[in-house]
Chain length 337, copies 2
DNA sequence: TTGTACGCGTTATCAC
DNA sequence: GTGATAACGCGTACAA
């Protein structure tokens, strides 16, 4: 344990024989002081280990050179990659980033909005887990930026996201091109608007090529199900007499579980069934057979989000309201030949 | 964009026809008001969406019901699992957790210490990337808790960590028990004190059983190397005429890469070589063959860390200075038979 | 360069 | 028991 008496700007001013205003100017390099006073002040600050009180600073300036990122789950590769690139951008621009983990709990998301708001952050980015964002999330006039998820909101918030629908469309069409005709869609539990987007890409591609795709070709895992449920669901689907020669999944883990189900039913990947995952997570490279997948571009998304938020904070002009990133297909063994 | 005028406690007081003191008391449930005024005040707060200004509150009380977690990389399963359980604990206790990602940059770690300090957080937990912690990290008298990594420090900080050395010892001995005699140790780049701990467990087990283990049986990957380097290093080791029938790695990814190297040299796992990973990450279950690994207990560690920090914040007595968690072995196909 | 009013919630003191 | 008044904490920015 350390035991320190807090040193305030008043102490420093007294010890250096100047006013608090001068100390403040030295700290902020805002001029209005001589070389000598600067050195005197700096040496006193060093000697007593003074750290300026951010609470007082933000109370006065209602800015803190701090931004918040609210996200559902730092334990998810895609999200945490976004977070890391955001952090790097803001660090480079002398801002601090505070990351808040909501555990996919909408209530907690709102609590963090209020907390960041009351901590006087200069802006907030959110990968929301709410379907609807109310306008009372923050009380101050700070920018809010939506990343990835785009819940309904009445505030015309700026958005950085990826074109998941087209990504799913391309993946589905790729399987069709390779001769698949009975392609099913396996979806983990997702908020309504997320799920709809992804499924629509699949449905549109199938219908474009006059292939059957409807409720009966979609396996929707219920909320709270684990990966073993996916394996079981695929087996049950086959046991019910349905044919499969292609699977599109909403995550790599779903795809890997689906492949386990296929294996237990004696079906080979990619010879009998071709499989697409989603998000190009590490495990898609490591599993056997290696998994074809859809790559969003989390680093670029994070960087664009951070850049946009900083522009909003600085109240610059002509900031695009919506940035949508393309998805690309990464083909590996699970869709070979 | 939202455009709001900030509502302050003064506005609420005026609108409710009471003083700011009363509003404050209602907010903090500190008594001294009647049911009627309470309802009146609450309805005004609701109506105008008032959020108390944390900067002002922490300026006065030098507490913010907020704690910080500084960590090297949220993109790492082990760390982020710790973080999630810390977050859950503090949320349950009505604290907010701000997570700061240092990218393994000691300078940045120090910057975040100062920022959290000046934001008046009530305590800081750190998975440090420094070898030495100076005592000027924070200026106020707040508790700091070390998690996992235990750099040298002069402040007698509390520690929550795991007994990695014994874990490595047990894994090595397990391979010896299964008949391995030429066991090598493959280490990714790690800070000195981390690496030493892990390697010592391996060395002690080998020496206890009179098996050769020294510089020549340790593959140390240089800083900044990627997984392909591990694969190559294993191949080169074999090409140099060395024998391998067991491998202990400092991460699951290292182990998976090592297995790829073995495969390319025509060696089978587990028949010819048995392999241990480290940390029981998702990929250890998914790879083929599935990987035996060492499980630390990140959830329990996170929970213990959070509990300890809260006790320190509340200045309770008899808080254990050091909590060390055991590691357990998880045996899968890579060490079978 | 400096003095000082200001921002806003908390809490001790005081009045009824 | 209820509620108001005012001092306080500390950095900022404008006026002097």
């Amino acid at each position: 344990m350390n035991s320190k008496k807090t040193v305030s700007i008043i102490d420093i001013a007294r010890l250096a024989g100047v006013s608090t205003a001068t100390v403040s100017h030295v700290l902020n390099k805002s001029g209005r002081y001589s070389k000598e006073t600067e050195e005197k002040v700096k040496s006193v600050i060093d000697k007593y280990g003074y750290v300026s009180n951010n609470a007082a600073r933000s109370l006065k300036s209602s800015s803190s050179r701090t931004v918040g990122l609210i996200m559902p789950n730092i334990n998810n590769d895609f999200f945490s990659t976004i977070a890391v690139s955001i952090e790097q951008f803001f660090d480079y621009n002398n801002y601090s980033l505070f990351i808040c983990n909501t555990d996919n709990d909408p209530q907690k998301e709102r609590r963090y909005f209020h907390k960041l708001d009351s901590m006087q952050v200069d802006g907030i980015m959110v990968i929301s887990c709410q379907n609807l964002l109310e306008s009372d999330l923050v009380s101050r006039d700070i920018p809010i930026l939506l990343i990835d998820r785009t819940p309904i909101n009445s505030m015309n918030l700026h958005i950085v996201a990826s074109d998941v629908k087209t990504g799913m469309f391309k993946a589905t069409e790729k399987l069709i091109e390779k001769g698949c005709r009975n392609i099913i869609f396996v979806s983990s539990y997702l908020a309504t608007y997320v799920k709809t987007n992804r499924k629509d890409g699949y449905l549109e591609a199938m219908h474009k090529h006059n292939l059957k795709a409807d409720q009966s070709t979609v396996i929707q895992l219920p909320k709270g199900s684990s990966l073993i449920n996916t394996e079981t669901a695929v087996i049950e689907y086959l046991d019910a007499g349905n044919k499969i020669d292609g699977i599109i999944c909403t995550s790599d883990n779903q795809a890997i579980s689906a492949m386990m189900g296929l294996k237990r039913k004696g079906l080979r990947v990619p010879e009998d069934v071709k499989v697409f995952g989603f998000d190009n997570q590490l495990q898609s490279r490591i599993c056997t057979p290696s998994l074809s997948t859809i790559e969003r571009n989390p680093s670029a998304m994070g960087n664009a989000a951070a850049e946009t938020l900083l522009k909003l904070i600085k109240k610059q002009e002509n900031i695009p309201e919506t940035l949508i990133f393309d998805c690309s297909l990464i083909e590996r063994d699970s869709t070979k030949q």
